[in-house]
Symmetry: D2
Subunit: 299 residues, 4 copies
Amino acid sequence: MNAFIKNQIQQFQDNNQNRGRLLVSCPDQPGIVSTISKFLFSHNANIIESSQYSTNPEGGTFFIRIEFECPNLKEKASEMENQFGDIAKEFSMEWKLTHVYNMKKVAIFVSKELHCLLELIWEWQSGNLMADISMVISNHEEAREVVEPLNIPFYYIPANKDIREQVEEKQLELLKEHNIDLIILARYMQILTPKFVSANPNKIINIHHSFLPAFIGARPYERAYGRGVKLIGATSHYVTNDLDEGPIIEQDISRVDHRDNVDSLKKIGRSVERSVLARAVKWHLEDRILVHENKTIVF
Amino acid sequence: MNAFIKNQIQQFQDNNQNRGRLLVSCPDQPGIVSTISKFLFSHNANIIESSQYSTNPEGGTFFIRIEFECPNLKEKASEMENQFGDIAKEFSMEWKLTHVYNMKKVAIFVSKELHCLLELIWEWQSGNLMADISMVISNHEEAREVVEPLNIPFYYIPANKDIREQVEEKQLELLKEHNIDLIILARYMQILTPKFVSANPNKIINIHHSFLPAFIGARPYERAYGRGVKLIGATSHYVTNDLDEGPIIEQDISRVDHRDNVDSLKKIGRSVERSVLARAVKWHLEDRILVHENKTIVF
Amino acid sequence: MNAFIKNQIQQFQDNNQNRGRLLVSCPDQPGIVSTISKFLFSHNANIIESSQYSTNPEGGTFFIRIEFECPNLKEKASEMENQFGDIAKEFSMEWKLTHVYNMKKVAIFVSKELHCLLELIWEWQSGNLMADISMVISNHEEAREVVEPLNIPFYYIPANKDIREQVEEKQLELLKEHNIDLIILARYMQILTPKFVSANPNKIINIHHSFLPAFIGARPYERAYGRGVKLIGATSHYVTNDLDEGPIIEQDISRVDHRDNVDSLKKIGRSVERSVLARAVKWHLEDRILVHENKTIVF
Amino acid sequence: MNAFIKNQIQQFQDNNQNRGRLLVSCPDQPGIVSTISKFLFSHNANIIESSQYSTNPEGGTFFIRIEFECPNLKEKASEMENQFGDIAKEFSMEWKLTHVYNMKKVAIFVSKELHCLLELIWEWQSGNLMADISMVISNHEEAREVVEPLNIPFYYIPANKDIREQVEEKQLELLKEHNIDLIILARYMQILTPKFVSANPNKIINIHHSFLPAFIGARPYERAYGRGVKLIGATSHYVTNDLDEGPIIEQDISRVDHRDNVDSLKKIGRSVERSVLARAVKWHLEDRILVHENKTIVF
């Protein structure tokens, strides 16, 4: 890692020694916010940012994300987790308490086209995507010269549909070995097996190069050209075992016109893909995304 | 027609007594532009705006739209048409010469939801959509009180799928009687028969309340909600006999999020529908659209 | 008021009999959220939506907006107000408790150009701007025929800078008589006196036809044209006694190019003005805006 | 230069051996288009793209840009230039005939912040900005490690206001030596002297980090924060001797809100700066920009 990034990370961790995030989803009922805020107050935690949503105040599901500043969080984290466990049981909560200081470990999967990888690295270097980029895995060699000068480990694992299972075995081993929290498919053009996907629920973010659900599947730009659309889009979503049907995190579009052929659609599309993927990853790293019935709540 | 609109139209026609538009499509070959501009120059026509496009300079199709100012256009129009006929034959052109002074006659079809009709009327009153709105046809009574105070004839023709053919017969009669140039389906919720559509090729503009080809068919907002999209859209297109598959003229989108239910998607969507339809109609009225193989060229 | 709108309002009030909103700003310190949510819980109020912001968690100002559902709110409102007064004292809060059922009373000031008025009325009829439009005041007669058919009282009060004080006296009287909560300057082209402005702090919303602080003052489209900008904008803000310097609520832009002259800038600009003003008014009516040191927090 | 870029350039030049562009501005009068297209036809040039604009068809200024394909352009270019000179004289034209094969020579000036430089290089590597990047000049060392691995000459020339003239002398020498066609100020934070600017009319493109004419001069993000704007912008323009007053080429904005402090405004702004500058440079390289009375016409 070069000095510049090292410095960024140092600064980030210094600033976030006492910064925590609490994510909760549970059946809606009166008293949730009151109970949670009382809990945080009892630990001298100061709420910095809080967002909530209920699918239906009467009998729906309630979601909340709280970012807080708590003195000596490092020392108190496990005690807080224990205590909150009791509250969680009472309200039937699914929940997560994260310590921002501990950056998420990320693996980026990439193929030949590097624009999404480059954007992620660029935003990482700029301090917008604070993560521990633990590795880049590719079935091609193109990314090596981008990644290695930054001291990010690069694994070249050739892949095709005939050797899919062996390839994924190697990959899963690497992911496990490094305790990877998030897998980013930055235009990795291989299909994943149900086994691989099931092993990483809501932990794989993909960028699809169309405005889903338009142009599910292969060659979306060619098909967009054929249909004569006036806007092209990109969609970032969590990967499930239904192709391009996982929970959508972010989408955006760009205007095109009759002069654009498939090649220029691809060029224009790359900019959209870049920014849509970067935003989705940023939100995931900041624990802003909750998944509910194949949809995302983005706080 | 109230005094305000009368005045707008008067002014428009005064300003466009000598304004013409030439639209041409033909196999590409050298010399087209040179020949056309020589022709216009020989009639003392001054080119005001000119746009062109070729699908492929070698052996493709060439398209051009020229807006020009020509002294005494009214008197010379038919002579010019005759002369240009010879050029057209030589280059195998499809072409059209329009005199802007002669406003297009428009029929608006509408159902219960009036937002698209209201936008069209609003833009018409503002002088942005210069047309002769000859009639509004509806299978409901809601639009009457909007339309009649403006002295636009309103025809209430109840419709449903059992009486579709009789209904369309009446409609076609009215359209013929008034020499209608353009039919706008401003959220008219009835399906048209192939007979009706074939009688009006590239003359029916529809607004579909989704970002086509996503959510073709009925209830797009409900399905957009179900899929958890982060953007909703609207698409304006010429009607063909393949449902929602006609040449796209214009599309746009609006951002939504997890808090939006079907109702709020509809409300947000209405704004997009309004502006997308108004733009498409404007371009059609200004002779800016050429149709080529199920796509539009919008100059 | 016509039947359609009457029905909208009826429905809105039925839906919001128990809906309340609490807005608070105070010096930041731990325990605020906990205290407020405990208070609401003690009244069986269920939090529907909650947003908060702090200028600086250590020693800054804290803002919160809570929308809640509370059984029998009508009967309990004054008791809740009394009780909350004690909390407010303890934390040095500025605060407001509103009952959504009681729609805000609005006066719209307008001049000759009606596009902003028409947009407001359109959104009001659509159920997007729930308010009691108590009157429209104008120094011209143009708006009368739009307003009176809807049974909105229309006051024609000729104005110019020589009679400014008498005019405003009449206006203030009308405002007082009808307990007006919000004044919307929907392209009202008269300057207001400091006396009028001071009588209505953060209660006057203006739409300025430029992207402030560019083109402060008169004739912004002419000056935008002169400068050759590639985007034009509109700004909605609360009126203070510094011309066009009040707290900005919302801004938006539209793309233009070298072909646009002053007239087409104005036409394009009208669409932006319309939607920017409508959004700002909507947020005000929904108690989403807090003013802090010449800036707005929009929740 | 690495193999990838070498290959891109080779391909670009192969594709553009016979591609030319003609840019003309002159007093408007009938017959211009006819004469030009006859001229091109007589050289067997096939018009690929053509755009025109007139400030006023009666007595205004006329502008046209034609991109064409002409067999053996390399050999015929000087003959065509000679012939067109006669036409130009007749119509009092200012004009330029460029051969796309000959890429423009570009110098990029940069300071410590590298995001704009990185975007330009990224787009250059992607084949979107075809130019000969002849040098990068900086008053800091930060850019060296980005630039030198790509075999772009890097010149470190320390600068401050006391030694401005000596510094510019060195710079002008370098520019002259390499026949530089375009200077890009990619966040170069030094003010240029009138002498330097006059030596390079309409050849210096700057990126200003605000939506001009708002926040002319220094520290625009700080001032945008102070004013509480809801959108921040960036402006790319040709440099003249009036600070931030040169002809605007492109502008864009991004939405911000009350939660954004100066630091986050800067981060958000960087994305806008990047894309606005890249677009302006692309248009310049493609000879799409004509300057007229402190405004740009962008075809």
